[in-house]
Amino acid sequence: MTTAQPTAAEAVYPTTTPPSVLLVIVDIHPLSWSLLASPPPAPPFPVNHAIDLAGASPMTLPDFVTILMVFLNAHLASRWGNEVVVYGATAGRAKLLYPPPPSAVAGPSKPRPNSYRPFQLLDSRIEEGLREMISEEEDRLQSGDTAKLNEPSAMVSALTKALCFINRIVPPSNNTSDITNPNEPLAPGGSGPDRPETRILVINATPGAHVSASSDGQTNGDADGNASAQPTQGNQQRGGYVGLMNCVFAAQKAKVPIDVLSLPPPTIDASPPIFLQQAAHLTEGVYWQWNGRGGLLQYLHAVYLPPASLRHRPFAVPPQDAVGFRAACFCHHKTLDIGFVCSVCLSIFCEPRPVCLMCKTRFPIKSLPTLKTLAANIQSIPIPDTVPPPIIPKGVTPNGPNSVDGTRKGRGAGKTGGGGGGGRGEPIEID
């Protein structure tokens, strides 16, 4: 929070920024990465030469981790006092990868003459941590503990851990009334170190709108297994929708933006991870879906590097897509456009039922048939595609103005991607 000083014209841009702590949550679910490493061929869309020239590139976990390390180094490089915290999230498990626990700080080998020591420590520890996690996964597979392997990545667990971490390093400011303590004199130690600003970057690799939203999403195909569990116990929501939303609200309170980078390109899954998208939207983070055509290093630097205190002012953030504010129902964990909500406890259900599962309120039996017919008639409208599809056939544009917005974004992508789609005419500057 740099104090705005609108008095002088030159004070428009902050001269210093607080140190920034970046918490990265990397989805390293093996299934997702095998999908990313061998993406299905693009659907036979009409060809758009400007974009297709780049071609879809497969992305393997080691490749990506290399890119991520450079990005994290750049974050460390951009200010003294910047910190990085990395969590790995895999099937049903989340773990802190960096910084290492103080007990295990054995310090890797000797310093290399050509890399900055903090960079070297970070990179080697991340690599080590990832290897540990993956070998643990393999152990689980060998030991036949496959039950958890089918779960999606434990994003929620990683998010809660990240928020706890933030709560520890930046305790909430005195949230009592701010009128009782007028300008306290500064501590004798001078202005002291600035309060660090924190942000979370979620790197999602799991395709599907249901990612991390439910413990038994459609990706696993065992939706029916858990559906009959008694929801009243309140513990069936392992890492579910509710947990994610709670994280979002806690992040909102702590003013921590949650940035989301979704790796599965549209060729793997066209529907965005809507709950992560909601999270980014609600916490004023940046949501971006990779188009599967390389340039990730540039994307990371261009989109996710500026700290929160420089975002929006002065730096532009990429325009955000339409956000579907859909919810997951409590009974079957389906993602809903239109749901049935208990008026007493606000639980969401995907079908009319006579008794609320959560609070046991009896609903009037008379209205049930009416609701049933209603439910039968529900068909949702699609989310308007604000990113322009490769080509827009005549008459299919759902809403004109939005596609205008989308083209601007498309151009931005081309530009940062190293001139891949830079064929558009730039306005000529006259001044």
Partner: protein, 465 residues
């Protein structure tokens, strides 16, 4: 009488008080040429440090385009900064100006109706290598290949060593000694403080370090030695790890002499004079860290020992000879106990100090930066306005009269006087106007122009009659 601005010495402080700890470095770099930077940027450590010294917005722009292929287009920067595409170029130019000054960006080129700043290739390569660790220049220091059983100084020992050596340097920082520009063998007997020396004491640790290094560097330049290698070594040292030992010959093959000099200053610790092994101390490793918290915490508490009362009495809880000597410059010291000095600010001593070139601002800055934590518990103005005002008044006393050359105009006509006065005022040529006697005092160099104006005006008024 009492001007309110006295209570805020910071705002009116002369421009000499540097805002950033690296001001000395900045002025040095501002005077260098492209080729100098080209040589500097061969070292990845330099690229990293220079990047961090840029203002945050500029820094982000550089990082934004670091991995892009093309050049940086002005229109893109405008868009990134959410400015109108028609916005004047000066607005963007101001933002990237620091990068242009450091030759990170080449001057603007026009190509096909597009204006762009090409990124310096050497810098780009250097920074990319710094981030990926793929460089070859060994700029982050080659570790010394030592016997694992060798005894290694702990971090605390290194810090203590650095502090001790620097204390000595501190004393010498007070004086100017033209005979010994490197300040390597300070003459402690001659303790005459200068304005500059006093200013030096007021700075925080990092600024002091950079001032010394830059002083050293300019001295080397004066001897027509190449300083780029040395400067690049400073940055490399700043990126090193406290407690780690490095090999001197492999890390800095071309700057052995300078490295030995730094050992004298306490920046590095060498087990023996001719040893190839050296340990950077905290003075060196904190060179480039922006907040320098490592060095500040060392001295923060010791530095706060002064209690100043509104009756001009000063209580200094210190036994540090240097501090007492400084106090003695402008304080009439009455009582000395082992850990406490009591004295009084009085006109005679303060004016004596001012004769030596120490300004009221410097004294005030010294008093407030050394104020005891107890002083903070009273309501905000740390130093009582009475004392601050009095110091300024004593300062003013010294120069009540100021001589200046002038040209006097005497007028008979009121209209002509008024017109000329407003004209002179508009051109900032007026020194003094005495409306009662219709006298104007004008800057000498503007005399011809004003005379011209008066004549013209006179004719005009006459013809008007």
């Amino acid at each position: 009488m009492v001007q309110p601005s006295f209570s805020h010495p910071k705002k009116d402080a002369p421009a000499t008080t540097s805002s950033s700890p690296t001001a000395a470095l900045d002025t040095f770099l501002d005077n260098q040429h492209q080729s100098y930077f080209e040589e500097l940027y061969k070292s990845e450590a330099v690229c990293l440090c220079i990047l961090r010294l840029l203002p945050p917005v500029c820094r982000q722009i550089i990082l934004h385009y670091l991995w892009a292929h093309g050049t940086i287009r002005t229109t893109d920067v405008k868009q990134f900064l959410q400015k109108d595409i028609q916005a004047p170029l000066a607005e963007v130019d101001e933002v990237v100006r620091p990068a242009l000054n450091r030759k990170i960006l080449h001057p603007m080129v026009h190509k096909k109706n597009k204006m762009q700043w090409p990124l310096n290739d050497t810098f780009k390569r250097g920074l990319r290598n710094a981030l990926t660790g793929l460089g070859t220049s060994n700029s982050f220091g080659v570790p010394y290949d030592r016997d694992p059983n060798d005894e290694v100084p702990t971090e605390e020992e290194l810090i203590a060593y650095g502090e001790d050596t620097f204390e000595l340097l501190h004393d010498s920082g007070l004086m100017t000694d033209p005979a010994d520009p490197s300040g390597r063998s300070p003459n402690l007997v001659r303790l005459t403080i200068t304005s500059k020396g006093f200013q030096f004491l007021l700075e925080d640790r990092q600024t002091q370090l950079w001032e010394i290094l830059m002083y050293y560097l300019t001295a080397k330049e004066a001897n027509s030695e190449r300083s780029a290698e040395t400067l690049s070594m400073f940055f490399s040292l700043g990126c090193m790890q406290l407690g780690q030992d490095y090999s001197a010959s492999q890390s800095f093959p071309h700057a052995q002499n300078a490295l030995n000099d730094l050992a004298q200053y306490g920046f590095i610790y060498k087990p023996s004079e001719e040893s190839d092994q050296f340990f950077p101390t905290h003075l060196a490793t904190a060179l480039c860290s922006g907040d320098a918290s490592a060095t500040q915490s060392q001295t923060a508490d010791e530095k706060r020992f002064l209690i100043l009362e509104t009756n001009y009495k000063i209580y200094a809880y210190t036994s540090n000879e240097l501090e007492i000597a400084i106090l003695n410059l402008f304080v009439d010291i009455r009582i000395r106990y082992p850990n406490l000095v009591v004295g009084k600010l009085d006109r005679k001593n303060v004016k004596a100090a001012m004769e030596k070139g120490i300004s009221a601002y410097q004294i005030i800055a010294y008093l407030s930066s050394h104020a005891h934590p107890q002083m903070y518990s009273s309501p905000p103005p740390l130093l009582h306005p009475t004392i601050v005002d009095q110091l300024h008044l004593w300062d003013k006393e010294r120069n009540r009269l100021k001589t200046e050359e002038t040209v006097m105009f005497e007028f008979f006509s009121k209209e002509l006087y008024d017109d000329t006065e407003s004209e002179a005022r508009a051109n900032a040529a007026l020194q003094l106007a005495v409306p009662g006697q219709k006298l104007l005092f004008i800057e000498p160099q503007t005399k011809p122009a004003i005379t011209e104006f008066v004549k013209e005006r006179q004719n005009l008024l006459r013809s008007g009659l």
